[in-house]
């Protein structure tokens, strides 16, 4: 079960220091805080890329990546998948919740 809340807004942890490289459908990201590299598969890469542009909620991100999910996936299923991705990115310290919603862009 995902810990990411529906209304929680997320942002990239180290927006200026993080290294991000999109390679075809996937991406690699280097986390300067942990000095480690992660492979992001198609949907995870799209989620992270969207968060690099601006903070967003799981619902907003689900709308962004809907086209990448298998045909027939319901909006609820896509949101659930996005929340799981957010949990994972958070666990790797690549993203974090914004300090105070709706003051989202800091």
């Amino acid at each position: 079960m995902s810990a990411a809340r529906r209304d929680e807004r997320w942002k990239v942890s180290f927006p200026t220091e993080v290294r991000f490289r999109r390679l075809d459908d996937e991406a690699l990201v280097f986390n300067p805080a942990r000095w480690e590299t992660r492979l992001l598969t198609t949907v995870s890469a799209a989620v992270f890329e969207a968060l690099r542009k601006s903070p967003a909620t799981a619902e907003e991100l689900a709308a962004t990546v809907a086209g990448l999910e298998p045909a027939g996936a319901s909006p609820a299923e896509i949101q659930q998948r996005v929340r799981e991705i957010l949990d994972e990115l958070n666990r790797f310290d690549l993203i974090r919740p914004c300090a105070g919603f709706p003051d989202a862009n800091r």
């Binding site: 390679l23 075809d24 459908d25 996937e26 690699l28 590299t37 492979l39």
Partner: protein, 318 residues
């Protein structure tokens, strides 16, 4: 004068005195030694290298010594010494060349972090460097040797050395270490190839070193831009299979395969990313060397068609 032009006695005297300088491209090495038989082995596998005086700056300075005491006579051994330290246990005295080669590799991998260093063979044809990264036992050295026997320039057997900023592959040109069955496979593949003595019962089995050819030695100060990454894997009796590897997956395989990716951090990330973006990436499973070489030839043809005007070869420290 080349090392091969010296007689063994003269080379042994140099080794016992000031030593010899080996300019390998990415590193300049000073070797001093007192080990019976080593001069003759070096003379064979480094025959095309210039016989330089041991002066100037060295990246790595090593000695092969015989221990004092009873080990000089009973079960004689040799010791690898670098900067006064002995990073390895002694080897039997008749495995002097493998000890020297592994020792220099160890020093390079431990120290030379101004480049991205991959565990990979690197060859070049028509200005296109081909990087062949693989884990030990994958058939990397055998395929690298076969490509060299078919006219590719050898940059490296063990180390794919890439400049961090420029992305060019720098030669780290050493004799190519063949192991076990590969020795006879390459001997049959190219009967004229120069192989050094066989060293049985090393920790990697029987080892013999293939001498770099004259043109590879002459080009050891010329870097080349990689265009191809080929992950080779020898599987006995298999049909040849060459399939594209997504760049993201090539990235992870290279990072795992690198000697110093973790140390370099963001610089390593950028260097590996630049490398895979500049290259077509393939996985090559093979059992026939002829077929594998032919396939790499075809891949070179493909990348050559995408040629742009940028120079692909670059002389180091012109």
């Amino acid at each position: 004068m080349r090392i091969g032009d010296l007689d063994s006695a003269a080379l042994a005297r140099r080794l016992a005195g000031e030593g010899i300088a080996l300019d390998l491209g990415a590193a300049r090495v000073r070797v001093r030694a007192q080990a019976p038989g080593l001069a003759e082995a070096l003379r064979t596998v480094y025959w095309a290298y210039p016989a330089e005086e041991a002066s100037g700056f060295f990246d790595i300075t090593v000695r092969i010594e015989r221990p004092r005491g009873i080990r000089r006579f009973v079960g004689p051994q040799v010791i690898f010494v670098v900067d006064g330290g002995r990073p390895f246990e002694p080897f039997p005295s008749d495995t002097h060349l493998p000890l020297l080669e592994w020792g220099v590799n160890y020093c390079f991998a431990e120290r030379c972090h101004d480049h991205l260093v991959l565990h990979a063979g690197v060859v070049e044809r028509r200005g296109h460097a081909v990087v062949l990264p693989a884990l030990p036992g994958s058939g990397k050295s055998t395929l690298t040797a076969a490509l060299v026997c078919r006219g590719y320039r050898l940059l490296s057997d063990e180390f794919g050395v890439l400049r961090l900023s420029a992305g060019t592959a720098v030669p780290m040109l050493k004799p190519l270490a063949l192991k076990n069955e590969s020795i006879d496979v390459i001997r049959a593949f190219a009967p004229g190839v120069v192989l050094g003595p066989r060293f049985p019962k090393t920790r990697k089995g029987t080892v013999a070193h293939m001498a770099p050819d004259e043109s590879s030695v002459a080009g050891r100060l010329t870097a080349a831009r990689p265009s191809l990454i080929v992950f080779p894997r020898y599987v006995a009796g298999t049909e040849l299979q060459c399939i594209p590897v997504p760049r993201s997956r090539a990235f992870t395989r290279l990072a795992v395969n690198s000697f110093n990716y973790a140390k370099l951090g963001p610089q390593g990330f950028d260097a590996v990313g630049d490398l895979v973006e500049a290259c077509e990436c393939y996985s090559l499973r093979y059992s026939s060397l002829d077929e594998a070489v032919e396939t790499v030839d075809e891949l070179i043809e493909i990348v050559s068609e995408d040629e742009f005007a940028a120079p692909r070869l670059e002389v180091l420290n012109p």
